[in-house]
């Protein structure tokens, strides 16, 4: 294993895939010579040239549409929408075009494209640069949604996303780019649709993903010292959802809390809770709970920003209330 930052792991994935397949190319704002605002694409422009690492004007709707078109003629575009908030400008192309082409055309063409984007609060960037909007994509048949929490997952899942025949919304988190972790030396592709048990436990299951995985692991460590054994299931891929892993963890512990940063109302937590109720009601010792973002846009001030998303303390408290 090599110690690597999340953003380096992403870069390695892109680099290896570009090396392997000349049909992979990148588009986005200031991703070329400048290497991207979060430095994910640094060095790739120099290595692969301006034909494959392409800066775009500020035209999210159309460069996303371009990815659809390029995918339809056989390429594998990977585009960067710098903040998931800006993906709102490209929703027609993502929801009505990319997600539907395979279906509408009766299987005449798939759309192998990746929309890399980034969400979450935590840097005082306020309401239009801090949202967690994965639920909007999760609801759309035809889209896959991936949200890795570690460098290794970022690496292996991005490679799988690029190789996937269908459109993938790949959502990074601004607080993860600089986090470090071990990444396998040998080339590794992590299949989409498989959750990862980041910590085994027997008393309570925390179902989570992306940056909240780190907070859940912190909470689990704290709870261990109080004698509570917490299992942390990192979904990694939201869609397709790894129901089996979630269900078997739920059956084992009988107590489940879903933890996500996105606003609770209409967040994916409700969907998973309902699924658990539908499929494992008799194995549950009580209601599935949700610990999730507050029902508000994210404010600029850091104190109140912090209050909008679940903290380690919130998770610890939630678990304690449950056991």
């Amino acid at each position: 294993m090599i110690e690597m930052m999340y953003r380096e792991a992403l870069r390695r994935a892109i680099d290896e895939e570009m090396q392997r397949d000349p049909l992979v190319f990148l588009m986005g704002e200031t991703i070329a010579e400048r290497g991207g605002s979060y430095k994910v694409t640094e060095g790739l422009w120099r290595k692969y040239g301006p034909q494959r690492v392409i800066d775009t004007p500020i035209a999210e709707a159309s460069f996303t549409g371009m990815a659809v078109g390029a995918a339809l003629v056989g390429c594998r575009p990977v585009i960067e929408i710098l903040f998931i908030d800006f993906a709102m400008l490209a929703m027609d192309q993502i929801v009505n075009q990319a997600a539907k082409y395979d279906f509408i055309s009766g299987g005449q063409g798939t759309v192998p494209m990746v929309v890399r984007t980034q969400g979450g609060a935590g840097n005082g960037l306020a309401a239009q640069h801090s949202q967690s909007l994965e639920a909007l994509f999760y609801h759309i048949p035809g889209l896959k949604v991936v949200m890795p929490s570690t460098p290794q997952d970022a690496y292996g899942l991005l490679k799988a996303a690029i190789r996937d025949e269908h459109p993938v919304v790949f959502i990074e988190h601004k607080l993860l780019y600089m986090t470090k972790g071990p990444v396998s030396e040998e080339e590794t592709v992590i299949p989409l649709g498989r959750a990862d048990i980041k910590r085994s436990g027997t008393d309570v299951t925390l179902v989570t993903y992306s940056h909240m995985t780190l907070k859940c692991l912190e909470a689990a460590a704290l709870l261990e010292s109080e004698g509570i054994s917490v299992e942390v299931v990192d979904l990694r891929t939201l869609s397709p959802l790894d129901k089996d892993t979630v269900l078997s963890s739920a059956r084992k512990t009988g107590r489940v809390i879903i933890v996500h940063e996105a606003v609770k109302r209409g967040g994916i937590g409700g969907d998973i809770a309902a699924m658990l109720m539908e499929e494992a009601y008799d194995d549950l010792d009580g209601p599935v709970l949700r610990i999730a973002g507050r029902n508000t846009p994210i404010p600029y001030n850091l104190n109140i920003e912090k209050a909008c998303v679940p903290s380690v303390a919130d998770i610890v408290e939630g678990v304690l209330r449950m056991v």
Binding site: I54, T56, A59, A61, S62, M66, V73, F103, I104, G106
Partner: protein
Amino acid sequence: MPTPPAKGGSPRPPEPILLGMYRSIYATRQFELKCIELYRQGLIRGYLHPYIGQEAVAAGACAALNPADYIVSTHRGHGHCISKGADLKLMMAEIMGKATGYCRGHGGSMHISDKRVNNLGANGIVGAGIPIATGAGMGIKVRGTDQVVVVFFSDGASNNGVFAESLNLAGIYGLPVVYLLENNHYAVSTPIECATGCCDLAGRGPAYGIPGICVDGNDALAVYREAAAAVARARRGQGPTLIEAKTYRHGGHHVNDPGLYMDPAVLAEWKARDPLLRTRRAIDDDARSAEIEAQVDAELEAAVAFATNSPEPSVDAFLAGIEDR
């Protein structure tokens, strides 16, 4: 400044091109008249947007393309589809919602695509095909082939933001895309004069750094000439062109719209310039045109029979395949 439509007649293209264009125009016309009939009989549902009156645009533009070139189409897409070489059987089956149709009955009139001839498909979202075509152009560049894309859209779409964004993008990257703006003067019932203060739509090309040309869209020969020039430039790596083809619908926006808002006098003028009659006149050989017509009539009859006798999609098979999406 956009080039004004050429005065007088257009120079004759090679004979097979001319005959091919007539075949496209005649087939589109007959196909749609049949669709309207079937619609009235309740055998076709949903939205159906006839292209009648505009056929010369698709015929002329597609005549300038190789089979490997791509087109991107619209909700009013039958003409593009047929001109690019569609199989009338599969089209009719799709529009009748049959399992044997191009899209297995998933798409209908507004969504036909045809992979075999590189028709990337119609679209229910006005303007959405424009960036998709632009991206196809980028894909061609990345893959290093000498293909070209023609994207069809109409005046209404040209007021949508993706039009401007896409011209601009194609301009920067020098993409092999021909933007074929079919100015039929209406978006549903809204005349183009009410939808923009600038009706020189070709002039928007230069505003985004690409040439803009205006042509008589009811003159298949003229459309062919301009399209061929633009396609040749694109194929040589000289980048995109915007072509505005002025034309007119012979009826309402869709099969259920009587189009009462259209000025009958203006409509009559355009009908007098019917692209079908003009192209047949250009051939000026009744035997040749009659031969084409007979072939198409037979093909169409077979298509209707095929579609009529085809099965509906199976509900069970459909449901079996969906849970992983």
